[in-house]
Symmetry: C2
Subunit: 335 residues, 2 copies
C-alpha cells in the first residue's frame, strides 16, 4: 500500500514558503507485529512545528530531513496487528502530514467516547485545548475574580483560554483578548470578552488601550505571541501577576534575535511570575482536562471555531497561514 | 536638638550626581509620647533607593521632595518616651540619611542578641542578607545539587547568595558568580565559587564563558543586574530553571527604556520560571532567616565584606558609588 507524505530537505531561514515542502509517495512496508495502519481523516498544523524545522533541539526533537514530517492526526484503523485495535477504530496519533500512517500501537490512542466531531480531538479537546487549560490553571494558577489577558485570543489555544477564564471568573474578574481583524474582535465580544486590536499599534499605544480596557490591570497574562503584546502586557500587570508563556509566535520566523521588551523590570516592580511551559510535560493531567472540558464541548457550551483546508496537498499552505493570522480557531486539514 | 539630614529637591533623570543632594539642618520638635530619638551610628545606602528618587510609585513609595531621605540605619537610643525602649538601646530603623532620627517607636526595632558587629544588621543580617536568603530559597526554590548562577556576586546581596548556595549545594551542584574587577573575582574564587568576569564582553561572549564555567547549565539564576547578564544567563538555563529577580541595577539609571534581551523565548524553551520579588513582602520570615544565618555569621562561617565611607557628608558619594560597582560587599556610612 502507498503512503503520500510531506518532507523537508533543508532547514528554513525565516518564514518558509511552500517550496520547502516536498510531497512524496512511498510503499509502506508489510505491517509488523504490534503495528497498526491508519487512514488519516484530519491533520493538525500547529505553530510549534516551525521550531521542529530548525534542526536544533529546543523543547522537542527537530524533524529529520527527508523523513515524513510529524504532527497530530486522527483517522480510522484499516489494518491492525495489535490486540488493542481493530479495523474501523477511530484513533489519534502523531503520524500526520500524510494520508496513511503505519505506527507502533503504543503510539496510537483510541478516541474517547464523548459525543463530539472527531476533529475536536485535534483542537478543543486535543493539544491546543489541553494547552489552554494547563496554562490557565496549572501554570498561571487562575483564581475566580482574576483579571485575565490573552494574546492571540481568537486562535486555537487563545479562544479556549478566554472561554475557560470566563467560566471560572465568576467573581467579577474581567477577561480581555487581543486579536487582529474586526471579525475576530466581534467574535470575542460575542463571547463576553473585551476585545482589543493590536493592528497598527506600537507597544505604547497597545499599553494604553489595555489600560482603558482594564484599568485595574491583570492578574493573569496568557502569552501566545511575544513582541509588542508582551511589552504592553508587562505595563499592565497587577502586583503578584502570573504570566503563562505558551508561545511567542511573533518570534518563530525571526532570522536573527530581535530585542526583547524594554520594560522587563516590571517583573520586579509587580513581583510577577513568568513561566514557560510545554504541554507535553503535563500530559498526565489529560484525563482531568477531558473530564472538565469534554462535557462542556459536548453540550455546546464552548464556542470553538475551525479553519479547514481540504486535501493533503493543502497541508503546507494551511501551516503557513498560521503565521499570517489567517486562521480563526483551530487550523485543520481534512482528507 | 539639631538633626542634619539629606533631601532632594527634584527628581533626577538618569544617573544623578552629588548636586542632587542637599545637606540640611533643622531643630527636632519636642519628643512626643510613643516616640524615640536615635543617634545613628551606621547608615545603609542601597541600589533600590534610586527608584524612590523617581517620583513614581513602583514597589515602594517615592521619596518626598524636600523631606529627609529614608533608609535603613542603626544607632543608639538617646531619649525615649516609649516603654519598650530605654536610653542606650541599640536599634535598627528606616530613619537613615541623617545623624539624629526621631521616630514613632513602632517603627524601631531592638537589635537581636547575636554577637556580631551592629552594622551587620544593615548587611549580612539585614535587608541585603534577608534578600539573598529569600530569593534563593523562597523564590528560586534552590535544592541541593542545583547549579546556581549569581550576578553582582560580590555585592551585598550576591556575596551572601553564593555562600548560602555553597552551603546548601552539598550534592555536587556548582556555584558560579559574575563580577567585574580582578579583586572581586579572586575573592569569589577564594570562597570556592567559579568566578566569571563580565568586563569588556557582550552578551554573546558572556554566554560562552558561562557555558565553559558550567557546561550543564543552571537550575537557578539569581538576578541582580539585568541587561547582558540576563541575556547570557537565559542562554544557559537548564530545563525547569528558576530565576529570582531581585534587582536590575543596570537599568536603574536609564533615561529611557532600553531594549530587553532578544532571547526571552528561552523562558519557553527551557520551561523556566522568572519571578520578581521584594523582600519587604516576605519580612514575616525574618526570624527564620535570623535563626539560620545568624549563627553562621556569629561563628565566622560567612565571609562578608563591607565598604565603608566615614561621615554623614559622604552619604551621597557612597550611594553613587553603588552604580560604579565600586563597593565590595555592603556599602555603609559610619557616623
Amino acid at each position: 500500500m502507498q503512503s503520500r507524505f510531506f518532507t523537508i530537505q533543508n532547514h528554513p531561514q525565516g518564514l518558509p514558503d511552500q517550496n520547502l515542502f516536498n510531497l512524496e509517495t512511498a510503499a509502506l512496508p508489510e505491517l509488523g507485529d504490534g503495528e497498526v495502519r491508519v487512514r488519516n481523516t484530519w491533520l493538525s498544523v500547529d505553530p510549534y512545528m516551525r521550531g521542529r524545522m530548525d534542526g536544533v533541539t529546543t523543547y522537542i526533537e527537530p524533524f529529520t530531513l527527508g523523513s515524513p514530517l510529524e504532527g497530530a492526526a486522527v483517522g480510522e484503523v484499516i489494518a491492525s496487528r495489535d490486540s488493542r485495535f481493530a479495523e474501523g477504530d477511530r484513533v489519534r496519533h502523531m503520524g500526520g502530514w500524510r494520508d496513511v500512517a503505519q505506527l507502533v500501537a503504543d503510539q496510537v490512542e483510541a478516541l474517547p467516547a464523548i459525543d463530539v466531531p472527531e476533529q475536536a480531538y485535534l483542537g478543543v479537546l486535543g493539544m491546543p485545548g489541553m494547552t489552554a487549560w494547563t496554562g490557565l490553571n496549572t501554570i498561571a494558577g487562575m483564581q475566580a475574580g482574576d483579571n485575565v489577558l490573552v494574546s492571540a485570543a481568537s486562535g486555537a489555544v487563545g479562544s479556549l483560554v478566554v472561554q475557560l477564564a470566563k467560566a471560572k471568573g465568576v467573581k467579577g474578574g474581567k477577561v480581555v483578548g487581543i486579536a487582529g481583524s474586526q471579525a475576530k474582535l466581534d467574535w470575542l465580544e460575542s463571547l463576553g470578552v473585551t476585545a482589543v486590536s493590536y493592528r497598527n499599534k506600537d507597544a505604547q499605544q497597545l499599553s494604553k488601550d489595555l489600560k482603558v480596557a482594564c484599568p485595574d490591570g491583570f492578574d493573569v497574562y496568557y502569552e501566545n505571541v511575544g513582541g509588542d503584546c508582551l511589552e504592553a502586557a508587562l505595563n499592565n500587570l497587577r502586583v503578584g501577576a502570573r504570566i503563562a508563556v505558551c508561545g511567542m509566535i511573533a518570534r518563530y520566523n525571526d532570522d536573527c534575535p530581535v530585542a526583547g521588551p524594554g520594560n522587563l523590570a516590571m517583573i520586579l516592580i509587580r513581583r510577577a511570575r513568568m513561566q514557560g511551559f510545554i504541554v507535553f510535560d503535563h500530559w498526565d493531567q489529560y484525563p482531568s482536562f477531558l473530564n472538565e472540558v469534554g462535557p462542556l464541548v459536548a453540550r455546546g457550551e464552548i464556542d470553538y471555531r475551525e479553519t479547514v483546508e481540504d486535501g493533503l496537498e493543502k497541508t503546507p499552505e494551511a501551516f503557513l497561514k498560521l503565521f499570517e493570522g489567517a486562521n480563526q480557531g483551530k487550523m485543520l486539514v481534512r482528507l
